[in-house]
């Protein structure tokens, strides 16, 4: 067989089941676009900014668990993509970015649109490749898929100079591709863990994004039921356990409910599954669950004892470990513990507000309209926290949010990706007016595709979470957080040929319902009171019992 480098790239991607590539062409990746033009197995989605392409790929990967591919050209194409790659790294999302580079003969000469892609992406990828010879594609592309998907998933960048894309190459067979099995599990540790759980009085399961990645939700439900163990989730773990189950105790930390943080403080055993003890969740670490022993199970050995010293840990795949653990768990009703939890939830029932236009109530209203498998994406800020607090996520992979990096502008392109990968499902992007402006250009991509993505902008004319912090911790010096000018978002949508709706406070909410149940894409500008704060709040760096408000 004889193909050029670009044709080899596209044919390898086809062989690995890639059906969508999103990106933007430019001089240094045009040979790959020419090869893609000839492919009848891969569709291309043209984004309007490389960051949008990166987040569309993330929406595909986060909603399906499968690797997603994006393309960018050299120089600014790559630098535009960096935020989406860094975001994928910290949230463990398998995105493979294939970037064009100037021809090898020009590398290192400050050529037009030359940038050191390899150097820039070292700290923000799981691994990266710079291709110096066309034959290396046969190693690098299968490796990229393996690395992106095995153990803890993450992004991989493959930087390919233009001359290599154009170089003909003769070969006999295509390389094999299989993802290696995870390492064997420490069985004595599992027996020890089962004994700890059985003999504990106030255990609590604490699930993170790793539970969703390892597809372990069904086992969490089973353990919670057999042994009567309540479940709390990190932001990234939402959806790993049904949000409307009485045993669910919410998200802990900075914007957790009072009852969640109280319950964690009282627990004598935290069963931490696929979490990384992030500062937003733990508050001051020394005072996080002070009376609890910690069982930490994670696929990534770096996470074990990184922040919180565990009593017992197992490094491995959560699903495989839980399967082995379940037979050793005894039935237990834990009446005292469960009644304490139910009382806490009753006494400190947060997120209940009289004003039907409180954002929490609007989010609950949305949740009652749409089906349980609806995928919600958010941007970053107050609307994100209100969604995490009040939307009852019932299934894994239905909540896509930028948890670790906290990237404003994530929501719309991620929703586009999720919708492409999940035809037939409704995808709602809950955004804010600040965040939405950061990738508003992707409305054009949405209009191209005409897919059912519903954007709800919780519009308070502010960078709301910044305004809130200025009010609470900076003597109400409200500065640089109020927008002097905001566009009419409904009219903007109309100009992209997308239905736009403006809903003011105390308008009929039936408009919102009709828009959500309509067939195509839409943008809903939902005006909210800018004075509402996300409560409770634990001031940054303080212990989780120091909650203000709520």
């Amino acid at each position: 067989m004889k193909f050029n480098g670009a044709e080899i790239i596209i044919k390898l991607l086809e062989r690995y089941g890639v059906s969508i590539i999103t990106g933007i062409p430019g001089s240094a990746n045009l040979p790959m676009y020419d090869a893609l033009y000839q492919s009848n197995k891969i569709n291309h989605v043209l984004a309007r900014h490389e960051q949008g392409a990166g987040f569309i790929a993330q929406g595909i990967a986060r909603s399906t668990g499968k690797p997603a591919v994006c393309f960018a050209t050299s120089g600014p194409g790559v630098t535009n993509l960096l935020t989406a790659i860094a975001d994928a790294r910290i949230d463990s999302v398998p995105v493979i970015a294939i970037t064009g580079q100037v021809p090898i003969s020009l590398v290192g000469t400050d050529a037009f649109q030359e940038i050191d892609t390899y150097g820039l992406t070292i700290p923000i990828t799981k691994h990266n490749f710079f291709i110096r010879d066309v034959s290396e594609l046969f190693y690098a592309i299968p490796e990229a898929f393996k690395i992106a998907m095995s153990q803890r998933p993450g992004p991989v960048v493959i930087d390919i100079p233009k001359n290599i894309q154009q170089q003909p190459y003769e070969f006999n067979e295509w390389p094999d591709f299989n993802i290696p099995n995870n390492s064997p599990i420490d069985k004595p540790a599992i027996i020890h863990i089962a004994e700890m759980i059985n003999s504990s009085e106030r255990p609590l399961i604490y699930t993170g994004g790793g539970v969703i990645t390892s597809d372990s939700s069904a086992y969490i439900k089973e353990i919670s039921k057999i042994n009567s163990i309540p479940v709390t989730s990190t932001l990234m773990g939402l959806g790993s356990f049904p949000g409307d189950d009485p045993m669910f105790t919410g998200i802990p930390g900075m914007h957790g409910a009072r009852y969640t943080n109280n319950i964690m403080m009282q627990s004598d055993l935290i069963i931490a599954l696929g979490v990384r003890f992030n500062d937003r969740a733990t508050g001051k670490v020394d005072e996080f669950c002070p009376d609890a022993k910690i069982i930490h199970i994670d696929i990534d050995p770096v996470e074990i004892d990184k922040i919180k010293q565990s009593t017992v840990s197992i490094n491995g795949d959560i699903k495989e470990i839980l399967k082995l653990l379940i037979p050793d768990l005894s039935e237990n009703t834990r009446e005292n513990w469960i009644s304490f939890i139910m009382k806490q939830k009753e006494q400190h029932s947060c997120f209940i507000h009289n004003d039907p236009w409180h954002p929490s109530n609007l989010i609950k209203y949305i949740s009652r309209i749409v089906s349980a498998d609806t995928i919600i994406t958010t941007d970053v800020g107050q609307h994100q926290m209100w969604t995490a607090q009040s939307y009852p996520f019932r299934q894994p992979r239905t909540f896509l949010t930028s948890g670790g990096l906290g990237t404003m502008g994530f929501g719309l392109p991620a929703a586009i990706g999720a919708s492409i990968a999940n035809p037939g499902k409704t995808v709602i992007c809950i955004s804010g007016d600040g965040s939405f402006m950061m990738n508003i250009q992707e409305l054009a991509t949405l209009a191209d595709l005409k897919i059912p993505v519903k954007v709800i902008i919780m519009n308070n004319h502010h960078l709301g979470l910044v305004r809130q912090q200025q009010e609470m911790f900076y003597n109400s010096h409200i500065f640089a957080s109020k927008f002097i000018t905001n566009p009419d978002f409904a009219k903007i949508a109309d100009n992209f040929s997308i239905s736009g709706y403006s809903i003011k406070q105390n308008d009929d909410l039936a408009v919102l319902k009709d828009a959500l149940l309509s067939s195509g894409p839409c943008v809903i500008d939902l005006q909210i009171n800018h004075e509402y704060n996300v409560l409770p709040i634990v001031p940054s760096g303080e212990a989780n019992y120091n909650m203000i408000g709520g």
Binding site: I122, P123, H127, F129, F130, I147, P301, V302, D305
Partner: protein, 92 residues
Amino acid sequence: MNNKIIKLKVKNHPGAMPHVVSLFLRNAINPDVLLYEQDRNKKSSNIYFVMNNNLNTEQILKQLTKLQDIINISVCDDFIDNSFSDFLNHKH
């Protein structure tokens, strides 16, 4: 206080060293000595550096282990004098 020599066997290509060095800043590793040599087979290289003992060695070694270009890691604990000549003598 005793320091440690970390010896890393890595895949031999120009991009291996930057991956290792990228861990230095975030882990406050400011090595007194850093040495890179190719193996005779040209397939692998060795990176040696001296690391201060008060750093979180276990966490750093875990992070190094995760790097895809690392073939294996060995640690020498009883290294006292970290002058460059002693370091080389120690290696040989």
